[in-house]
Amino acid sequence: MEKPQHNARAYWRQNLRYLIVLLAIWFLVSFGAGVLFKDVLNTIKIGGFGLGFWFAQQGSIYVFVLLIFIYVRLMNKLDKKFGYDDED
């Protein structure tokens, strides 16, 4: 086992990396697809939905739910790897 201080820093850095990636997706589906690129995406139709409108009123919400569960999985694995998991 490496030094605890070093361990903590590596854990934190990996955590930040996950956050950046997940929040980038969070930003892209809502502010990106739902607002900024809405008009371009609306030229693509899925059923009765323009894709931009679908992202703004449906798609972004589904992705948000997925993002949290992916984060939960990633962090549970990371906790275990660094021995910070809290099993009784």
């Binding site: 956050l19 929040l23 009765g48 962090m75």
Partner: protein, 563 residues
């Protein structure tokens, strides 16, 4: 059975259930009262958080708002769900590890200052009171429309119920009644939505029905609605009329405000471990998403139904629901050209019909001619949504008084038992004040709900984020940031919502940003001021930096403790 008997039956059954749960889950210590002893399983916490969060505004108001604003309403959908991603990734796990009872607890300890703590208590009280007044009003409205009792009597019945389980059970009682309330409210929301979706598109899943073809026609529902809207002089439903910058700002303010709301954050103190805090944020958003993805479908169905039923039709031929809502003043018809037909258009000069968006969800089952028990179910669901949120807010208020002010600042040596008594007394007082505002609603309730989000965004969010992610942030920086953030937000709201400081119209908005969206600007100001001011003062003491190191690691969250 008629609608009124069905409503009475369902309301009595659901209320007895809530009271039964409250008696079963009484609080025996301050830890029970403030955070349900920290023993709530993540699934139950997810359900409770969803009910806590979804208020009368989500249940009754949102679909209506969407129905009347089309694409522009997306800000509420993305804003009020996207905030949970921030909450789950940036706040909940760390605050749970910190392991105290309240948000001001964290701010006061992390910034080693009672002044900062008091600023936080002030914000928590302000946010919660403005919110809770609206909930009580919602309870009164449902009672008056469906059981035909005066609004004030409705408010008082609601007060007594909340009083009973919030005072007796504290967080413990609230948590388990919220679980039941979530089940009631989601059932009540989904049943009519599914019925109407089948009726209009043949698809039983409303989320899909919204994008399907109209039953028996070759056109897609959304295209049909766009066509109907434009033909009548409204903006096409799937296009917006707000500026892109304003849409971005409002969405961001609602997201960040959501993540900073004390009654939501405190729910994550109730689970046993850090990993449970993360997981229950996921469950919470999942349960919220069921309603939030159905609401836009309901909005489309309701709008299409409304336009088809009333537009250009003779007034004399209107169905019964139209007259019932007319008597409440929420539907107004003025026959300007005296032809006996209803002209409903986007042109204010010749438009003859005004419909209050708030009736959409309540009237929708009637407009679609659904069975009486479905209509009654919606009333019970609306009550569940309003009561669950009111209870969560009242708990924040009573905790702020008994714990953050009295225990932490005024009388630190008070015993657990007397603190519990104090917490119960504060809850009683808070319910009475909320009831008073429900009966005598100040004109600014609607305006201040937006203010509540703006305030939370401008104050708590940056202070908490910097407290976790920036170890060197000191009390001077955080306090200056919060004061500037709140000050800017208050100034903008008072000026453009209440006509103070010279007032002004939407022409005078800075960069065209509405007061609802200004929370984003105020939040950025807070971040900038905090970071610049902190550079001029000493780093926080060693032991505070250790707290920060410690909350970043999930191991050993243990039981929350008051010390």
């Amino acid at each position: 059975m008629d609608v009124q008997s069905w409503t009475l039956l369902l309301v009595v059954i659901s209320f007895s259930l809530y009271i039964g749960i409250a008696i079963w889950s009484r609080a025996n210590s301050t830890s029970d009262f403030y955070i349900a002893g920290g023993h709530v399983p993540p699934l139950a916490n997810g359900l409770a958080t969803a009910a806590d969060w979804m208020s009368a505004a989500s249940f009754l108001g949102m679909a209506g708002l969407l129905s009347f604003t089309g694409y522009d309403g997306s800000v509420y959908l993305m804003g009020w769900t996207g905030g949970y991603v921030l909450l789950a990734l940036l706040l909940a796990p760390y605050l749970r590890k910190f392991g105290k009872f309240t948000v001001p607890d964290f701010i006061g300890d992390r910034y080693y200052s009672n002044i900062t703590r008091t600023v936080a208590v002030f914000c928590a009280l302000m946010v919660s009171f403005t919110y809770v007044a609206g909930q009580m009003r919602g309870v009164g409205l449902v009672f008056s429309r469906f059981l035909e009792v005066p609004i004030d009597t409705g408010v008082i019945i609601g007060m007594l119920i909340v009083l009973f389980y919030a005072v007796l059970g504290g967080m413990k009682g609230i948590t388990y009644t919220q679980v039941a309330q979530y089940c009631v409210l989601i059932f009540a929301f989904m049943v009519p939505a599914i019925f109407i979706s089948i009726q209009m598109t043949g698809n039983p899943v409303p989320q899909l029905g919204m994008g399907s073809q109209v039953l028996g026609e070759e056109t897609y529902l959304l295209d049909k609605l766009d066509g109907l809207s434009e033909a009548l002089g409204f903006t096409a439903y799937t296009d917006g009329s707000k500026s892109t910058l304003d849409i971005l700002c409002i969405t961001a303010a609602l997201m960040v405000g959501t993540a900073g709301l004390p009654h939501v954050i405190v729910r994550f103190f109730t689970v046993p471990k850090v990993r449970d805090a993360r997981k229950s944020a996921g469950y919470a958003l999942l349960f919220i998403a069921i309603l939030y993805t159905t609401a836009p479908a309901v909005a489309v169905f309701a709008r299409t139904n409304l336009l088809e039923t009333v537009s250009g039709q003779p007034y004399e031929a209107m169905p019964e629901w139209f007259r019932k809502w007319e008597t409440t003043g929420l539907i107004l018809f003025e026959d300007k050209n005296q032809d006996g037909l209803i002209q409903y258009t986007g042109d204010a000069e010749i438009n003859e019909l005004t419909v209050d968006p708030d009736i959409t969800v309540l009237a929708n089952p009637e407009i679609a001619d659904l069975p009486n028990w479905v209509i009654a179910l919606v009333a019970a669901g609306g009550l569940a949504a309003a009561l669950s949120t009111a209870a969560g807010l009242l708990l924040v208020i009573s905790t702020a008084i008994s714990h953050d002010l009295i225990k932490k600042q005024w009388k630190p040596d008070i015993s657990d038992r007397s603190e519990l008594v104090l917490a119960r007394i504060s809850a009683v007082i808070a319910v009475c004040i909320a009831g008073y505002f429900g009966i005598n609603p100040p004109d600014f309730v609607a305006a201040t709900v937006a203010l509540a989000f703006g305030l939370a965004a401008a104050s708590f969010f940056p202070a908490i984020i910097l407290g976790i992610f920036y170890k060197k942030m000191n009390k001077e920086g955080a306090t200056a940031g919060m004061v500037v953030g709140i000050g800017a937000m208050l100034y903008y709201m008072l000026r453009f919502k209440f006509d103070m400081f010279g007032g002004g119209t939407s022409e005078d908005w800075w960069f065209g940003i509405s007061p609802e969206g200004f929370g984003t600007v105020a939040m950025l100001l807070n971040f900038i001021v905090s970071l610049s001011v902190s550079a001029f003062f000493r780093d926080p003491p060693e032991e505070v930096q250790e707290i920060v190191e410690n909350i970043r690691l999930p191991k050993g969250a243990g039981e929350a403790s008051p010390h």
